[in-house]
Symmetry: D2
Subunit: 382 residues, 4 copies
């Protein structure tokens, strides 16, 4: 067990999982080098449980090999990076083992299904980091160009002091009461429902955009369709369909969160609004190449919300792509994520969001659950 | 004291107050008869404290006379209707006196600054109603054609079962920390801040659209600019700049409310989103002639949010105005309100929203304040 | 015949016509004084052919009297202003007579159905103007606040040199092939179809916004539904359903026009786009309280189209109305028109658009017809 | 010279050109197999004049080899497909040679710079087709899912009879008068300006969406910035900055076209509006995952423009990508194009748009130029 340290050898990459997230990550690995200057790497092996299926997926998605045993893969000398796209309950085991094996690790969000697992991962990441081994959690929406621009504008003070942040993430794939029962709707396998799945993105954005951490939360969870039918007949849904929260931020700002999987007509509507003393921003992931910016320094006669089409060469990540006005797709949030991950590995610096940041989001989610279980009473965060 | 009962005599109208709301109500009285069939009435007398100013306003706004003593006016035989546009702390005294004098009463929202006053008004209204004297509270946004249409579509079941309702009302006239201190920012004169002023509209809409009353709330209030300077120097702001709440509705739906006076770039953004099992609606008061309707019964290939321009002859109130596509302004929410008020008076039926409905909204607001004062813990509504 | 010159006497106003335009103009007369400082006037007499109907309309729309003989009315000493809302074929006769009688005249667009009539009106207007009698043609969309702002921004050079202007006016009330035959669809009564009715607005805007007159045009007309059924059975439609044109402007800019009455789903979509060397503007009359402004002087990173909500106190006409974000309706383009007309009368200055401007638009329309009749070959304007 | 006919051998692909279009096509080749079921192929060789540059590009974009001599490449037995992304003046020579060598050919639009060249290409394509060798011209916007859906809805009669089609394509990369002279602005190298470059797309869309060919046109061209400075100093611009046209279509519909490279603030705004007797559609390429559909069969009360987010599984091409609401980028118009091209090759059927279709668009462009040179007089198309 170790890593081949031949100078100039391409970084060997293994990915675990080939479902929705595996497809998206593979796409990013296959394309990142065509658009960005990154260290040389080899899209080496795709890992999955079903041998035939993973072989077909590896071929389709551009991996040189397929494998079924992730433990064996992380022992390989030619593998330097492990990208974990497996379900949440497997994150901790694979990530800790890979880090201990000296592999850089990228893991999909949420970091893990439990705080205990997340804490173990953070410990492993810290130890690995001391040895020059990097890790990152996949809050990919930080790398939507419009949201990266939003963060820059906020950090530069273009909005003044941030006071109020509104985040919602609305989908409708469970609006139909006839949609079937699945592992995603059982607490023991999924951890939570809309909360962990999509509120995690919303909360990461609130904290990342403002640069401020939640210090207290009040929350609420609700399941509108309490029973669904699966292969084994009707069964209770034990996770939330929707969640609400308010967050006190360390900066003095207040954030609000509302997420839903039953919001008929909303498909992937992560919406963010940031209100500062001198301006505001708005964003909708269904229209990801646009950022709305209200610049309070413009005199009232021509002030208003400006639709910034984030395809100009001076927008984050945009110079690598196409001419102005030629938009990019949702999937390239992952491409940008891998670009930054690779460059950090090459530079020997720690990428962000770190496992610590992932854990902190998990703690906010846990506090929301705690508040929800106590009539929404405010729960402080340590 | 009494009312002239000569048959066919035009209804005599008196209005109290000529500031923002007085201007808006006067405009409605001046125009309602040009567009709608209503009982004959006379825009008789405008009442205010400053004799010269009220005389000028009466002339400008189309009133036959001006007066300074509302008590004298409500004793006049030729006055049948009293429209109260004075500040909230005067509502109860004038309304109760006018009702007792046998005058029909329209009062601006919020019903009153305190629950005690509101309850007294409700008692007076109930007693008057028994005598055929009508009363109404001015939640004028119920009569935006788009929102009246929204209510119809919901009531007809076009959205299926309503599950999630989102209401926000965002303005920015206090975003500037240099905006001066005023009576609106003192608890003793204003009662509350954004909560009473604009969350009242949001809450009325949630309940009116869904036809369901709040049974429990969790709330939060926040003042971002805690001190402002007035004519007498710096002074503490004692009302909220922003408020948040979640509402359990009797129907099983969950509502959320967020309001703000410091949301830079939002001018009058009352936004409503209603999600049902089979469709959804969205509305923004900055664009009041449009309703967005997602009809879940349309097959997926052509489904989507439909922008309904509510200027067709079969839209509520619209036939009276202009041809399709010729939009109307904010002010005609009041015109529609007075049209309905007058027709109820003529029919001898009770208009809605009644004082009881106004009181119920006040109770929800009070519960939000109570929750906010107790770390957002859920407060049941009796 | 003459005018009572008693100092301080209110200006007496007569309006001719009480259909769609009469209703809109009456509304403006009834309301202008409540919002703007204008000379004192009396909404005196409404004129129409049907005695009973005009009497009812006068009562409903706020006129003191009704009359059926416009010739008699323009001889009255107490009438100072004649507002002509009658059909186009009556414009010339009434306007010339009224001007000769010393009455200020406001006439709806288009100025007249024929160039000969328009020229007679211009001659009468010029002669009257020399005697201090004013006249104006009703291109009311110049007084949409957003379009008045557009003109200001262009005149101030905020867009640089104007190069390309796009105007379209799309409606759909004739999309249905079953819509009945009417006088509006016969050349002898209507003059033309979409061309005179709505392209006139588009062309006036192009010239007014840019401050440049058309010097040559290429045009095309088309009738998609060539026969419709009226009370007397099927009949040929002899006017255009749609029209297209390009305009060379004296400034070197190029304008394009496309108008239609069969554009399914467009209700009142007068859309304007102005492209300059350093910025651009866009407007849609279905959303008349907004102007889109692209300010080319903003650095690319935050440049984009800004949605200006034209309800701020420093927007044209807006201070008179409601607080920011409280929009006004289509009808107040007429209110603004009358405000400016009255103030010019009081000041003894000539209002704009003058009859000469109205005639010039008629000449552009005639040149488009001429081009359309000659395979779209370019027709110069004198 | 020939083609290796070993059964099951992957199709060998060569691409000529690695600038903007070469990058876009390479991206499509690199990704098509990960999303769609296509015949097996090998992304074999990238051809360019500069040996070092093409080698770097080949590596970056996923090609196995680089080469500098296209003539040599098309003689290779292992090459089955030639994808021509070189400038327009090279299209004819390469395409004809490749077709004669038995290679399937995909060529970027416009087909060629002259009609003579285009006709030669059509002849070669027809001859090759008879031998089972396929060819296609790159009007990639036919394969935007929203536009493919538009065509389906029109073909199904959902809009009724199509009457009026509006197409504009607005960009602003030449708005700045300081933008430098280049080969694209000289008639001898570029053929034309906005006309050939972007009006070609607009015209192809009008004809493709409606299924009707232009039978006559009136056109106009204009150059707003007549001189620009290049490396050799100031020089006359000899192509158009903007173009306008109206098109008579064989079906009886009328189309209009307006294109510009100086439309400040528009980046890539290909906008299409199609008006039928019973509905309409609208599209904007700056927001390519949306189609606006006005369904005239919906009763007026809920009728309006529906924003269809074309990411549902039953939308064209969409099932291959991501879940609903997860949008794709501009570049995948090319991915879809190659998917269809490959499948036609495998099936032995002729793909569309054919060279004949490309030539027909060139003829429309030529007629517009002819009309523009003759004062916009209508020019019939044979």
């Amino acid at each position: 067990m170790g890593t081949d340290t031949t100078p100039g050898r391409p970084l060997g990459v293994a990915a675990v999982g080939y479902a929705f997230m595996g497809k998206a990550h593979s796409n990013a690995w296959r394309n990142v080098g065509a658009f960005f200057d990154v260290p040389t790497f080899s899209q080496q092996v795709l890992v999955g449980r079903d041998g035939a299926a993973v072989k077909a997926a590896a071929h389709r998605y551009g991996w040189a090999e397929a494998a079924t045993d992730w433990q064996e893969v992380i022992r390989r000398d030619d593998i330097d990076i492990v990208d974990i796209c497996a379900p949440g309950w497997l994150h901790a085991e694979i990530a800790v083992a890979a880090l201990e094996a000296g592999k850089h690790v990228l893991v999909e969000k949420p970091l893990a299904n439990t705080l205990a697992e997340s804490e173990a991962m953070v410990a492993a990441a810290a130890a690995a980091r001391a040895r020059g081994v990097q890790s990152m959690v996949g809050f990919n929406y930080r790398r939507v160009p419009a949201l990266a621009l939003a963060r820059e504008l906020i950090a530069e003070g273009r909005l003044g002091t941030i006071r109020q942040v509104r985040a919602s993430y609305l989908q409708d794939w469970l609006a139909d009461a006839e949609a079937p029962m699945s592992w995603r709707l059982r607490k023991e396998t999924a951890g939570s429902g809309a909360l962990g799945d999509i509120a995690s993105h919303a909360i990461d954005q609130i904290q990342h955009l403002t640069g401020a951490a939640a210090t207290a939360v009040s929350g609420r969870l609700h399941t509108f369709v309490t029973e669904r039918t699966g292969p084994d007949g009707p069964e209770a849904v034990t996770v939330d369909d929707a969640a609400w929260a308010t967050l006190s931020l360390g900066s003095g700002a207040v954030g609000s969160v509302e997420v839903s999987r039953i919001a008929s007509g909303r498909k992937n509507a992560l919406r963010l609004e940031v209100y500062g003393s001198h301006g505001s921003l708005a964003f909708d992931l269904e229209n990801p190449n646009e950022l709305q910016f209200y610049d309070g320094s413009v005199p009232g006669r021509t002030a208003g919300s400006t639709r910034i089409l984030t395809t100009e060469a001076d927008h984050p990540y945009a110079a690598a792509w196409w001419p102005p006005g030629h938009v990019i797709g949702w999937e390239h949030t992952f491409t940008h994520q891998i670009r930054d991950f690779l460059n950090h590995i090459a530079a020997g610096t720690a990428p962000s969001p770190s496992f610590e940041e992932g854990l902190q989001v998990q703690r906010v989610l846990a506090a929301i659950e705690e508040s929800a279980a106590s009539n929404s009473v405010t729960v402080p965060l340590g």
